[in-house]
């Protein structure tokens, strides 16, 4: 089963294509990293996959053929958006209540245990938590829904190194321990080295590279994901702005 499948997918905002001709098949059971520079179309692709945005061209289905944004798709996907939006004036307990109410499944015991472990008091207002705690709360709420696919948009961009590490450890535990498929975007490559085993590389709205990390490394003779990504991003940059044009 593919957790995300797109064919000829495109999204246009006004006159500019944020994403175009995107064809992908991300298999289940992976931690898939969506990487690329700012403005490459990462958020657009994730928003399309979780149904927040509808495509301008092509199609996207999730969890083995469910239409993105359909009730069945929403039921199986948990999304943590960029900057982990929470209702800042509500308490942690209220956020748990609301998430439980809005979903068919909610593992209250898991959420409680996670928050205890993190030392997040239930009566604290979400807005009064540290950045790392807010990110962990958003992740806990998402995982307590027991999703089959967890989608994270730039989850660690705003976090300090320790908070980043803790956050990624939680993601990895869910992926390896519970078989949750993960799709996360980041422009910080070092975070992904440890966790990602599937890679999608975007630049300027187009997919440049997609596949299992090990296969890609072997095929392209690179030692690390970071080196591989750098090579491809440089190459993509040159294709869009060939040196000959500069000299002409």
């Amino acid at each position: 089963m593919n957790v995300v499948e797109t064919s000829g997918l495109g999204k246009r905002y006004g006159g500019t294509w944020a994403l175009r001709e995107c064809t992908l098949e991300i298999p289940a059971g992976r931690v898939a990293a969506l990487i690329g520079p700012n403005g490459a179309g990462k958020s657009t692709l994730l928003n399309l996959a979780v149904g927040l945005t509808s495509p301008s061209a092509g199609g996207v289905s999730v969890l083995g053929g469910r239409r993105a944004g359909s009730p069945a798709a929403l039921d199986g996907i948990a999304f943590v958006a960029q900057d982990t939006p929470l209702y800042k004036t509500l308490s942690v307990a209220d956020m748990i209540y609301i998430t439980r109410s809005l979903n068919r499944r909610f593992d209250g015991a898991y959420a409680q245990a996670r928050l205890d472990e993190l030392g997040i008091p239930p009566k604290r207002k979400a807005g009064k938590l540290s950045g790392g705690q807010q990110a962990q709360l958003a992740l806990t709420l998402a995982l307590a829904r027991r999703p089959r696919l967890l989608v994270l948009d730039e989850p660690v961009a705003m976090l300090d190194p320790i908070a980043r590490h803790d956050f990624m450890a939680t993601v990895l535990a869910a992926a390896t321990g519970d078989g949750v498929s993960v799709l996360l975007s980041s422009h910080v490559l070092t975070e992904l080295e440890r966790v990602a085993n599937y890679l999608v590389l975007l630049s300027q709205g187009r997919v440049r590279l997609a596949g299992e990390v090990n296969d890609l490394l072997a095929t392209h003779g690179q030692a690390s994901l970071e080196e591989l990504a750098m090579v491809y991003l440089r190459a993509a940059g040159e294709r869009e702005n060939p040196p000959s044009e500069v000299t002409r």
């Binding site: 039921d75 472990e117 535990a173």
Partner: protein
């Protein structure tokens, strides 16, 4: 860090998903909007206490004045005077006119504007409940609560203002129940206007996506609609009645306009031009000049073939007008809420 494991997922491959029950939105909506609702409740509650206390003495004085016999006695004149003295800043109802718009702006406008402004819509719209159902449930619930609270407050207003539109021979400003300022505070007017303002606020919030501008827009649009209705629309709900020479205009009718005509054609509006006055009524006995009221020149002009026409809405049309206004406001509110839900459904992140 210990890895907490998740329990197995029952019914994971359930293809015919049963949707998350609607009733769950009650608790969600309450938790998210209890501060706005409590604010509205405190404001209306404080006003209600004041109106209740003031209304008790007002209605008591009114009942005493009505029951007093004979009306010309010194005692009764005294009671009339007491009643007359109770005229206060609330009498014309203008101050309370801001309440529906304010409730709409401060409860309705932030519902979606805050989600859009803070980005929490990305959380709310990706939960299993589904964004269309989420918006529909939330708006209908809040609309029902707002309308119910406003309905209770409207009943209190109807009672409070009873003496103002009662026996026209007693004190207090002689007011028709159709008068702008009181009409939409009494009967079903108050909840209907509050509901409409809430719906305007919800749509403005979704269109503008910023809390403060949405509040301002809601205040402006709601107030503008109320002014347009009171000034132009309401008098056309039913064809006004016409009467000539002012003889048969009932005491508590709502006079729409008055004009003078001669030989079946319009002559002038409220005040005769000098040439007409000089031509027919220039003699001192008829009383002339800019300072003279219709009492002076009116009878004179009537002798010369002029007719004064009055168009008015009789006070007996109070309830038909209430139902007409309540009906279109309810229809408008339903339309606006439907439009808001539609926007939530199709809006791209």
């Amino acid at each position: 860090m210990t890895a907490l494991t998740l329990a197995a997922r029952p019914g994971e491959d359930d293809t015919s998903l049963r949707p998350v029950p609607w009733r769950r939105m009650a608790g969600v909506t309450w938790r998210q909007h209890r501060i706005a609702l409590a604010g509205a409740a405190v404001l209306l509650g404080a006003l209600a206490v004041y109106l209740w206390i003031a209304g008790l003495s007002l209605n008591h004085a009114y009942a005493g004045a009505v029951a007093c016999q004979p009306a010309s006695s010194v005692t009764c004149q005294g009671l009339d005077g007491t009643l007359d003295g109770m005229d206060n800043f609330l009498s014309n109802g203008f101050i309370l006119q801001v309440l529906p718009a304010a409730i709409g702006a401060f409860v309705g406008a932030p519902v979606l504007a805050r989600e859009m402004e803070t980005g929490t819509f990305r959380y709310a719209w990706t939960q299993g409940f589904g964004r269309r159902r989420w918006a529909l449930a939330k708006l209908v619930l809040l609309a029902a609560v707002v309308a119910a609270v406003a309905g209770a407050f409207g009943a209190l207003l109807t009672w409070y203002y009873g003496p103002f539109v009662g026996d026209q021979s007693l004190g207090l400003p002689r007011t028709t129940p159709l008068t702008p300022g009181l009409f939409d505070l009494r009967g079903i007017g108050f909840p209907a206007w509050t509901l409409a303002a809430f719906a305007i606020g919800a749509l403005a919030g979704m269109l503008i996506r910023r809390v403060v501008p949405a509040i301002v827009a809601t205040l402006v649009v709601s107030t503008g609609l109320a002014f347009a209705t009171a000034g132009f629309l309401r008098q056309r709900y039913l064809t006004p009645l016409l009467t000539s020479n002012g003889n048969s205009v009932p005491d508590n009718a709502w006079v729409i306009s008055q004009w003078w005509a001669k030989d079946g054609t319009f002559a002038f509006g409220s005040y005769p031009p000098n040439n007409i006055l000089n031509q027919y009524c220039a003699t001192p006995s008829a009383g002339t000049g800019k300072g003279g009221g219709p009492g002076n020149w009116g009878p004179c002009l009537m002798q010369h073939g002029y007719t004064q026409w009055t168009s008015y809405q009789p006070a007996t049309r109070f309830w038909p007008f209430q139902w007409i206004e309540g009906g279109w406001l309810l229809g408008l509110s339903v339309l606006l809420i439907a439009a808001t839900v539609w926007l939530v459904q199709r809006r791209a992140a």
